[in-house]
Symmetry: C2
Subunit: 180 residues, 2 copies
């Protein structure tokens, strides 16, 4: 599948409703569970996605579109949400994510990006040269990866409860050593 801006916006626009359907008013036992130390709970994932709206995807797209001589991105703080959201409710974070995402997608649409603009370069602090098209594709994949993570982390809370079913439920043994 080749990158398509409209199909990407369609998926990005769904994430707040998907996460709300999955998590809103769910018991803390599901929402606050993790895969172990230094891993994200579903609550953390929503905070991390908010950080992405505020500090990552659109700010990086703006750097590329500014066409400066050094279109280098700021590093992305994967743990900004921890201090930011320590006293917040999940419901308020879901609402905030929904509003930020809607605003960012409205902005993205308003740019009416052409194929040549999608080819414009940026400089990732660790990965090196990337294009605006790759940045936007990574935004989509990042959302879907964290959605998969939320489902996986929730599933693992029942790892002991399924008894002999573990080998038939591979989600329970995915990422025993966390990679994201």
């Amino acid at each position: 599948m080749h990158f398509d801006l409209e199909l990407s916006i369609d998926v990005l626009g769904r994430s707040p409703a998907v996460l709300t359907a999955l998590l809103d008013h769910l018991e803390p036992a599901w929402v606050r569970g993790t895969e172990g130390p230094e891993t994200f709970s579903p609550f953390d994932v929503v905070g991390h996605l908010i950080d992405g709206e505020e500090t990552d995807w659109i700010p990086r797209a703006r750097i590329i579109l500014a066409r400066g001589p050094e279109p280098r991105f700021e590093p992305y703080d994967r743990f900004r949400h921890r201090a930011r959201n320590s006293s917040r409710s999940l419901a308020s974070l879901l609402t905030e994510f929904s509003e930020l995402r809607a605003g960012n997608l409205e902005l993205l649409r308003s740019w009416r990006l052409t194929a040549s603009e999608l080819d414009l370069p940026g400089e990732h602090p660790a990965l090196g040269p990337v294009t605006l098209r790759q940045l936007l594709a990574a935004w989509v994949v990042h959302d879907l990866g964290h959605l998969a993570q939320v489902a996986r982390v929730m599933a693992k809370q029942y790892r002991e409860e399924v008894g002999p079913w573990v080998p038939y439920l591979p989600v329970l043994t995915d990422h025993e050593v966390p990679r994201s």
Copy 2:
């Protein structure tokens, strides 16, 4: 986290809305993509979950609750949906899944299962002795595993499009050899 019937029903009740928010009226490029031969697309997953409603979870719970001398489950056909749904639309499958799930959860609630009923035994054709509690926990984990799968399969459709981002997006390289 210990098994809790109400918290399990809460999660099971969300899956139709989560999958509808993620997939309804989404382009075929996202809905019909797979991870390779003999793997499920998001469309296939919805069909597989419908098969579970009709042939797996509740039918197996009934076998256990019948307290017969040999509470052995029928094997579960993981590919029943292929022939069944070949001419169906995703929208109609999402509606069907939603209705079947709602009916099955209403039935499950109506049983008002006690702790001792949750301890009743069944016989899985491959895994051996299991309890009703383990069956219901496996139902929850099975849903979440397939939700993670849908997100992963969608993400992989953009594997080539993210360029250098692959090592930062582990969902793209999960299950290179499919396990489910």
